[in-house]
């Protein structure tokens, strides 16, 4: 198991390195710089700016400096938010985004799995049809449509919840954004659980277990659930990716002070260091999630551990 994990970890580091390198040189290849304005700056000022941000150095030296910075957790100064480093900006917003994301993921898993399993157990009942239709809707509706629709319904017409905004520690402000973020992955998880459960319930070892006279609940808890969850585990990394992308828009619609807005604003403002830092951060998070998923896989399905 440890050997397996180390092999996966060794595979993740080059990927991250490639991402950093690729993004760095893509940014440098971009036409136009962060200091381009409507009116051209005088040559001396522009030269000073270049020097202050180290842009007058040869590209390979900038690259090495950037790599060295990243190892120490320093993503360089933001080009647009004067007096802030990218690390500071991220540190400010990350707790909010993290809270939003983990809540959404937890809800998606804790509701999605039972929903899918129940639908599979009561196959072709009214409950199953309801679940399948809800899933089809949930998969298709993106967060950036769902959140405004939910806000319209519960915020503007019913006045149950705030339409948007953020107060530290206020759960009411989190309900709609978390719901909008969690519903698409929830639907997907429910569908995968249902499919996995149906596959497993039809297999011989379940028939054997039932034939021995074990009660249905024991069979499901002890035998069926674990193999049925293998496809769900495989979906976890995409689920995190979907929640992270969703949080980009959800934060801007709901006016939450997370890090999602930095990527978008950074892209619009050509704040290269900020965008670079965000892309690297998101990639690292996704890769880490991929590793966790690999471990989960190995735990759920012993065959994986002995592959190759």
């Amino acid at each position: 198991m440890l050997h397996y994990f180390l092999r996966r970890l060794a595979g993740a580091i080059p990927t991250l390195f490639i991402i950093v390198t690729l993004s760095f040189f893509l940014v440098r290849a971009a036409p136009g710089g962060p200091f381009d304005q409507e009116q051209a700056l005088p040559a001396e000022i522009s030269a000073n700016l270049q020097r202050a941000y180290g842009l007058d150095q040869p590209v390979w030296r900038q690259y090495l400096r950037y790599l060295e910075g990243i190892v120490h957790g320093d993503f360089g100064p933001s080009f647009r938010y004067k007096d802030f480093t990218v690390t500071e900006l991220i540190a400010q917003g990350l707790p909010v985004t993290f809270e939003l994301g983990t809540l959404a993921l937890a809800i998606a898993i804790l509701i999605g799995i039972p929903l899918g399993a129940l639908a599979a157990l009561h196959r072709q009942s009214a409950l199953d049809y309801l679940a399948v239709s809800l899933v089809a809707l949930g998969i298709a509706i993106p967060s950036f449509v769902l959140l405004p629709l939910l806000a319209l319904m519960f915020g503007i017409y019913l006045h149950w919840l705030p339409v948007a905004g953020w107060e530290a520690g206020s759960a009411r402000h989190l309900v709609l954004p978390v719901a909008a973020l969690s519903i698409p992955p929830l639907a997907y998880i429910a569908r995968l659980t249902r499919g996995g459960m149906l596959d497993v319930l039809g297999s011989p070892f379940i028939r054997t277990a039932l034939g021995k006279g074990l009660p249905l609940t024991t069979v499901i808890a002890r035998h069926a659930l674990r193999p049925a969850l293998v496809p769900v585990a495989g979906y976890l990394a995409p689920a995190v990716a979907s929640i992270m992308t969703g949080s980009l828009v959800v934060e801007s619609i709901a006016g939450l002070p997370g890090i999602g807005r930095y990527l978008v604003q950074g892209a619009v403002n050509r704040d290269y260091t900020l965008v670079l830092g965000m892309v690297i951060l998101y990639s690292a998070l996704l890769i880490a999630m991929g590793l966790i998923v690999d471990l989960l896989y190995a735990w759920l399905d012993p065959r994986v551990r002995f592959e190759r």
Partner: protein, 283 residues
């Protein structure tokens, strides 16, 4: 290619009521986007000062109401849908073409070339592509054609994997051997013999990429990184609508519900098509 499996798949598809309804809804939505704007006297950009932020209804010519500038929402929603659908088709074709070429070459040539090409795919799939696309829009500016290409480049990885798998399973068969023996070159074999034989399952997968692409385009346009004024796509309209939803909720509802209907129909139809062709998955 024999036609019997196709006929059987068509029968399975038509026996699936969900997929059939989705197909009808899809046809209606496409027809609405193509012909709808011609039914209404308004156009995309004219500002009607007598009807600013007007309610939807049949009392005036603005059936879905108007926005803050007095532009007609019926025409804007359907024209926006047309843009979204066009992006879905073009970018879908790009990803299909890329995946087909890459997967067929990797699978047919094999050996070290295959190893290298698949390693490349593996690394690409590890990248958070959405962020890269946002990144690309920064670099290339907001060029419409570049946007289509970049979005298309996102969906091709899985297509390439599927094509490679299919190619591996047919490359040892006699008809390929016969083509080699008769002196056909590698490019010709790939084009004439490999591609036509693997295209079936790939097309099915492509029907499931189209809604993802449409969703992705709307997402980018929503963020202001996609389609730019004066053209509109469903994403830009939803973004405008979300900003005005307290005063003029129809600005959100018209494009929002259209997008939802389109995505649900495409997904359900694509699933039905996949189940119909893949008898293992049938239940």
């Amino acid at each position: 290619m024999s036609s019997a499996p196709w006929r059987e798949a068509a029968r399975a598809l038509f026996a699936n009521p969900g997929a059939l309804v989705a197909l009808i809804v899809l046809a209606l939505l496409i027809a609405a986007a193509l012909f709808g704007p011609a039914l209404n006297p308004n156009d995309l950009e004219t500002l009607d000062w007598r009807h600013v932020a007007a309610n939807p209804g049949l009392a005036h010519a603005h059936w879905f109401g108007t926005d803050r500038l007095g532009r007609d929402l019926f025409v804007r929603t359907l024209a926006g849908a047309r843009v979204s659908m066009a992006v879905g088709l073009v970018a879908g074709a790009v990803s299909l073409g890329l995946g087909l070429a890459f997967g067929a070459v990797a699978g047919y040539v094999g050996g070290r070339t295959d190893d290298l090409m698949m390693r490349f795919i593996e690394i690409m799939s590890g990248l958070p592509l959405i962020f890269f696309v946002i990144f690309m829009t920064v670099i290339f500016g907001r060029n419409q054609l570049a946007l289509f290409l970049v979005i298309g480049a996102v969906g091709w990885l899985t297509t390439a994997r599927i094509v490679r798998g299919q190619t591996l399973s047919i490359r040892r068969q006699e008809f390929i051997e016969a083509a080699v023996a008769s002196g056909a070159g590698t490019p010709r074999i790939i084009l004439r013999h490999v591609v036509p034989n693997v295209i079936g399952p790939v097309i099915v997968y492509a029907t499931l990429t189209v809604p993802q692409i449409i969703l992705f385009e709307s997402f980018l346009s929503f963020l202001g990184l996609g389609v730019q004024e004066p053209s509109a796509s469903l994403g830009t309209l939803i973004a405008e609508g979300a900003g005005e939803m307290e005063a003029a909720p129809w600005m959100l509802l018209a494009p929002g519900l259209f997008l939802v209907a389109l995505l649900v129909a495409l997904n359900v139809f694509g699933d039905g098509l996949r189940d119909a062709l893949d008898s293992r998955e049938r239940r």
